[in-house]
């Protein structure tokens, strides 16, 4: 009797707990959401800490750097616009850029922003060649000059055409107070993070959170939200639960790094949150190695183009959030609208091409030539579950036409090492998105440590291609440049080096009270300064 009373008490307790959870659940979340109708604080969840946001180095998170530090000009969907420079002139020979700076701008530590500060910053970047050499502009700058307090000049070695785009990137050409320099440089760290941007980093608890507060002396339009709290949550599931509880207001990221496609669809269907998708920002493609195994044969590469059912990948795996890609770069990317025809899925055509190339179907359903099986291997970064699923879909498509596809997931570092050595048949390739596309992406094809370089090595005209890219970067004539891009992209397209899959997008999920959530040109930036809570 005594025992059964205890059992009943325990059962009762469990029942109460379950009933409580059912009753209080949604109310808790909703209460948090409605109380957000003030512009006091926005909580943003990120899987990563902001780390060192020194704008001249690469260890920090770009959206955080973007809140605190500004550049002379910015890349916008409408083109390049003034930022810390009110206007600029370019000399006729395209080698001298003169910037006229905003007057009365101060760094958040009270230091004046002037031509001298600009020179000190740009020189600090140029001196740190080791870390900044990936950006062509760094190698192209010959001289920096202070003309007067508010006029600054850059002299180039060649008329490098993407100068303005690259000056407007989140890093490295952003400005930090000269007082923050250590031993006259920023290469080995900085003593503080004083910028001219709309927010000031006021608190940072490593691996926990960072707080950004409005810069009261900001020279431009002040943001409406007073504080941005950057909360670090390494686990995606935790982020989703924190959003449901109302502890987080905004999720924002590209390529499924913040919210995977499945969760994004569920959150959209729920209707409890607002979900936003950007225009295509980058390209998701498979790069085929022209220097190895069967993919060396042009007909095999062409057959692969016909054999992959991209629509299934876009609809079935990416839940329709990404648009099928016909060409390596979207036609919305500058210089990329060159009238190339996309290849449509056609299994029969793929089979015919393979047969014509001498690959004959064997009794096991796979094709053989000279006793060798038509067997390819695709490598992917094992951190990326999406890439595995896409690989499996392709494996099934290729099996239909008699190609065996092996799938190998590797740890990120091993995957990167493989890119460098060129030991792959197929690999994933993501472009960097605007404003890096097309110039920085195409430029990287010449660097041996990139998969693109290794994959293109088997091309008959690889040498021509690399020279063409080098010449293109310093071509001053706009029409000539368009023509050169056309030749490069057409050659790559005709040689079927890439199987374009989809154009990737950036996604945001936020509570309904939050307004003004949009996208900058770069997928790596988050325009916090434009956001506000509905009053």
């Amino acid at each position: 009797m005594h025992t059964s009373r205890k059992v009943y008490t325990l059962a009762l307790l469990i029942s109460i707990l379950l009933v409580l959870s059912a009753c209080t659940g949604t109310e808790a979340g909703n209460a948090e959401q409605t109380s957000k109708a003030s512009n006091a604080e926005l909580v943003f969840a990120s899987t990563k800490d902001i780390r060192d946001i020194n704008p001249h180095l690469y260890a920090g998170e770009m959206p955080a750097q973007n809140m605190v530090f500004e550049s002379l000009i910015i890349n916008t969907p409408e083109g390049i616009k003034p930022a810390l420079a009110e206007k600029w002139d370019i000399s006729e020979d395209g080698t001298t850029y003169t910037f006229y700076l905003h007057k009365d701008v101060q760094f958040s530590d009270g230091e004046a922003f002037n031509a001298e500060a600009v020179k000190l910053n740009i020189d600090a970047v140029l001196e740190n060649v080791e870390k900044n050499s990936w950006l062509n502009l760094v190698a192209e700058i010959k001289e920096t000059k202070v003309i007067d307090d508010s006029t600054f000049q850059i002299v180039l070695k060649d008329p490098y055409y993407p100068t303005l785009e690259e000056l407007g990137l989140t890093r490295p050409f952003r400005f930090i107070s000269p007082k923050s320099f250590v031993d006259g440089t920023t290469a080995n760290g900085v003593s503080s993070y004083a910028g001219t941007g709309p927010y000031i980093l006021t608190e940072h608890k490593q691996d926990q959170y960072a707080t950004f507060t409005v810069n009261e002396n900001y020279w431009g339009d002040k943001p409406q939200i007073q504080t941005i709290k950057w909360k670090v949550m390494p686990d995606h599931q935790t982020i989703l639960l924190a959003l449901e509880k109302g502890e987080v207001d905004l999720l924002f990221g590209s390529d499924g790094d913040m919210v995977d496609n499945e969760s994004f669809k569920v959150l959209t269907d729920q209707g409890k949150y607002s979900t936003v998708i950007s225009h295509p920002v980058g390209s998701r493609a498979i790069v085929l190695n022209t220097n190895r195994s069967a993919t060396r044969e042009p007909q095999v590469r062409e057959a692969l183009m016909y054999a992959i059912h991209k629509q299934i990948i876009a609809d079935g795996i990416l839940n329709g959030t990404e648009q099928v890609a016909d060409t390596l770069l979207s036609t919305s990317v500058p210089y990329a609208d060159v009238g190339l025809e996309g290849v449509q899925y056609d299994m029969n055509k793929a089979s015919d091409l393979l047969t014509a190339a001498g690959w004959i179907a064997g009794s096991d359903g796979y094709r053989y030539k000279d006793g060798n099986k038509l067997e390819l291997t695709i490598y992917y970064n094992s951190d990326n579950a999406q890439e595995r699923t896409i690989s499996e879909s392709m494996q099934n498509d290729l099996k239909q036409v008699g190609i065996a596809l092996n799938i190998v997931g590797e740890e990120k570092q091993a995957y990167l090492d493989r890119q460098k050595t060129g030991e792959f048949d197929l690999m994933y390739s993501l472009s960097w998105g605007l404003p890096y596309d097309p110039q920085t992406y195409v430029s990287s094809w010449r660097v041996p440590s990139h998969a693109d370089y290794q994959a293109q090595l088997g091309l008959e005209k690889k040498e021509w291609l690399d020279h063409m890219i080098t010449d293109l970067m310093v071509e001053q004539n706009e029409e000539q440049r368009e023509q050169m891009y056309k030749e490069i992209l057409t050659y790559i397209h005709q040689e079927n080096v890439y199987i374009p899959l989809t154009y990737s997008v950036t996604k945001a999920v936020h509570i309904k009270a939050l307004q003004g959530v949009g996208f900058n040109v770069s997928q790596y930036e988050i325009p916090f300064e434009k956001m506000y809570f509905e009053e």
Binding site: A28, Q206, P234, D235
Partner: protein
């Protein structure tokens, strides 16, 4: 006793050298060149010249044994090198993360002790009755579930639905409860079983029969049985402390708890070798030292061990 202590301490020296050597060599067995990794994690495209310069900076151009001796010498002084990712001292990062892990482990230990003793004793008292079976079933279910799953479930119920705790982080005092409960669940079943079985076994001993014959109260007898059963559990508990600290890896990630478990996972994802090496070394030393302390404690309690040793 003195001789035994010296003998045991001397015996762990080759073990510690073995652990440190393993921690050092494991990283070098990887195919990735640490110099390249150090460049890549900072988004620097490695060129042959830069890789050479980085090899020199990291001291990778020196012979293997020289590097090992230098590393172990510096590690003894608490200098584990510099992180490839954020260029901060690894020792400082571990020192910053360790208190969070210790706090989490301490709370988990309290939960383990309280729940295990409570359920273990109740199960032993009501041996094979409904309460015993129900409690053992509950503990079994709780511990059979993987940590990440139970962590998410607890978060959903107690943080989201009931709104009793925050989902993650360590900003509020109550933040520690859910991760500590998740962490403790794995250990609770072991101790419940241990305490229950020891008590059940002790209940059949002659001294219990004698106590009953003497007419002692049941409560007093249970207390005696419990005290006698606890000795074995203390030994097992000694080894659980390093296990608890090492076991925080998954829990710290789920609950965004900024401890060394999370530091290690982040380092693994970034191939930040100096942190991984330091983590392996510290955990190894912790296991060896705890094992030694448990042995010494047991030998102090039981002279037969000293004689055998």
């Amino acid at each position: 006793m003195g001789r035994y202590v010296i003998k045991r301490i001397l015996a762990i020296i080759p073990v510690l050298i073995g652990i440190s050597f393993l921690a050092f060599i494991l990283i070098h067995l990887r195919t990735s060149d640490p110099a390249e990794v150090a460049l890549r994690v900072n988004q620097v495209t490695p060129t042959p010249e830069m890789v050479d310069a980085m090899r020199e900076t990291l001291g990778l151009d020196k012979p293997f044994l020289t590097r090992y001796v230098e590393w172990i010498g510096n590690s003894i002084q608490g200098d584990f090198g510099i992180s490839y990712v954020n260029q901060q001292s690894v020792g400082e990062q571990i020192a910053r993360a360790l208190p969070a892990t210790l706090k989490l482990s301490a709370v988990a230990l309290i939960i383990i002790l309280t729940i295990s003793i409570l359920i273990g004793v109740l199960s032993a008292i009501y041996e094979n009755r409904l309460v015993d079976r129900l409690m053992r079933a509950l503990v079994f279910i709780g511990t059979a579930m993987p940590s990440f799953w139970i962590g998410i479930l607890l978060m959903w119920l107690f943080a989201v639905k009931l709104n009793w705790f925050p989902t993650s982080g360590m900003e509020q005092a109550s933040s520690v409860i859910l991760p500590a409960v998740t962490l403790s669940l794995v250990f609770i079943s072991t101790y419940v079983r241990l305490i229950r079985n020891n008590m059940v076994q002790n209940k059949t001993e002659n001294y219990v029969l004698y106590a009953r014959v003497r007419g002692l109260k049941e409560r007093t007898i249970i207390w005696k049985v419990f005290r006698n059963s606890l000795q074995l559990s203390i030994t097992a508990l000694g080894m659980s402390i390093p296990k608890l600290i090492a076991g925080t890896v998954i829990v710290e990630n789920i609950y965004a708890w900024p401890g060394i478990g999370r530091l290690c996972v982040t380092a693994i994802f970034n191939s930040d070798f100096p942190i991984i090496q330091a983590y392996i070394l510290i955990m190894g030393v912790m296991f060896v030292v705890c094992n030694l302390l448990v042995d010494l404690l047991n030998s102090a309690l039981d002279p037969r061990i000293r004689r055998e040793g």
